[in-house]
Amino acid sequence: MIAFLTKRLMHALLVMFVISVIAFAIQDHLGDPIQQMVGQSVPESERAALRHQLGLDAPFHVQYLRFAGNALQGDFGYSYFYREPALEVIARHLPATLELVFGATLLIVLLSVPIGVYSAIRPRSLLSRFFMGVSIVGISIPVFLTAIILIQIFSIGVTVTLFPESSAWGGWLNAALSTRGSMPSFGRGQDLVHVVGHWDTNLASLGGLKHLVLPSIALASIMLPLFIRLIRAEMMEVLQSEYVKFARAKGIAPRRIHFLHALKNTMLPVITVGGVQIGTMVAYTILTETVFQWPGLGLMFLDAIHRADIPLIVAYLMIVGVIFVITNTLVDLIYGLVNPTVKLTGKPA
């Protein structure tokens, strides 16, 4: 166990080191701070003097060590646009993204497990086929398009005039297919409740929750099909195994076999894949937040790119890198703990 732990931690540190070198290289190569500090008329000799005074002419590794030292103390420099410490800007935007991810995760967990298990137990039923069909359509619609469709249907509204209004059922069908569209689709709204520090929450008021609904559905829509298909595939495999057959032969109630015995082993691979998907989720928050103008990290990062706000870009990369590395390490450790068959010290297959 100790050996496994050490190995994982070394791996995590190595990844963090690589990310920080890349982040520093970006900072080092984009733009010249001296040029931004002094005017056109300043001669080259004075520029060189200033460069030397600020330590910008030091070799790459010396400058990197300085950068890494500052970063470890939480100092990523000042954002060009916000004119405040980059970490401060990130802390301000973080709660919005976390709440969005929380909403989406809630939807994914609540929906994917029952649907996945059901379609594994009854693979040939009409409902299962429907879920599988919907899930492949879901995978094929990019997350920003799902978001746009949601806005059109639930925020702007759709007026259907396909059927003749005069006939008995035409008017009713038109009304049934039309949507009024009243859901908010822009930002976090006004009904935020202050919790602590930078954290204003959407979760504590009806108006706030309403703002969270569409972005959460959009973000969940891309991961939900993946999880349904994964849970279904794993569950079907588990249901073929000897111990399930034995439990059936013993006469244990099917409900107990499915949800107690089989589900436990189904969830093992789901944990690992779920951990890896956190990375994908961060990428999709950028897209979702752009469509809904949700003031979280993703939108902040995209704005920083368009404004060439280098310190903020670098800080975002480092923070996201830390989040990735921590979650991936935790997922590996949890997997090692709950699955005794994993070779803790051996080389990965």
Binding site: V15, S140, I148, I151, A283, I313
Partner: protein, 312 residues
């Protein structure tokens, strides 16, 4: 190894194959292939099929902007699917946009496959330090998700080279970015099959005959790993097209003057609130149909060819 008339025997083999047999019996797969081929043909023939040239500023009139498609009141008969915010014919620009999306999708997958196959072969066949290094690299990249890597690389490249240069070479840039971001999928798949093939007797026989590693890798092992490569390629093309659309939607891809389906959706999104939903949703529908038909074909291929794909 092959018979005296390889061309004829290959044709015969295809006709007798299980692949063709199951294709003939599956109307879903036939429909998907038909739709995909129709879209590809339309995209290839865009300059001849499109009524107007959307890249030619002289043919665009801003007064024609935001005209609805034919089934809505106020439509102009000249523009079947309506016009976008700049007054460009939506049908023409979708044809050209599909062309750009497909070009980038297939280009990026070619690059991925090239990198992934070479790295996967090296890692699987040679093993040792090369294997550890390449697979660690693949693990790290995959743990970040390919889309995230593509967004970050795209953002950094754009900031480094400047927006103008990036826009002028957007097709090449996107192929490079998506290709570099997604090679680990191929590398893992190829490596897994190579590890299986390496232990077989024909490889030992080739070694005994004194053939070099390079020759064994590319001429003997590689042909036997083609089935899984073929199967994941379909899904990878769909992924690459979606990645391209996502990058374009974020403003890191094709510029609006030379749009792909993604940048058309982005451009139209600004006009959604004013009621002109077709500018964004019609290209969106084309994108979904394109990706869906590729994904369904990929699912079908996976079921039929049933390769031992690398799991986990």
């Amino acid at each position: 190894m092959t018979t005296s008339t390889p061309a004829a025997s290959r044709w015969q083999r295809l006709r007798d194959s299980y692949l063709l047999y199951s294709f003939k019996r599956d109307w879903g797969a036939q429909l998907c292939l038909a739709i995909l081929l129709a879209l590809v043909t339309m995209a290839l023939l865009a300059p001849w099929l499109a009524p107007t040239d959307p890249y030619d500023l002289a043919q665009i009139d801003i007064l024609n902007s935001e005209l609805p498609p034919f089934w809505i009141d106020g439509a102009d008969t000249r523009y079947a699917l309506g016009t976008d915010a700049q007054g460009r014919d939506l049908w023409s620009i979708i044809l050209y946009g599909t062309r750009v999306s497909l070009l980038i999708g297939f280009g990026a997958v070619l690059l991925q496959a090239l990198l992934g196959v070479v790295f996967g072969l090296l890692a699987g066949y040679l093993g040792g330090r090369i294997d550890a290094f390449l697979m660690r690299l693949a693990d790290i990249q995959l743990s970040f998700s390919t889309l995230m890597v593509a967004i970050v690389v795209g953002a950094v490249v754009k900031a480094t080279l400047g927006g103008g240069f990036y826009s002028n070479h957007a097709v090449l840039m996107l192929i490079l970015i998506i290709g570099l971001a997604e090679w680990p999928q191929y590398a893992r798949t190829v490596r897994a099959s190579v590890l299986g093939e390496k232990r077989k007797e024909y490889v030992d026989a080739a070694k005994v005959m004194g053939l070099g590693s390079r020759r064994i890798m590319f001429r003997h092992v590689l042909p036997n790993t083609l089935t899984p490569i073929f199967v994941i390629s379909t899904v990878q093309v769909a992924n690459a097209i979606i990645s391209e659309a996502a990058l374009s939607f974020l403003g890191l891809g094709m510029p609006e003057t030379h749009p792909s389906l993604g940048s058309l959706i982005k451009a139209g999104f600004d006009y959604l609130q004013s009621g002109s939903w077709w500018i964004t949703l019609v290209p969106g529908a084309v994108l979904v149909v394109l990706v869906l038909s590729i994904n369904l074909l990929g699912d079908w291929l996976r079921d039929v060819m049933n390769p031992r794909l690398y799991k986990g």
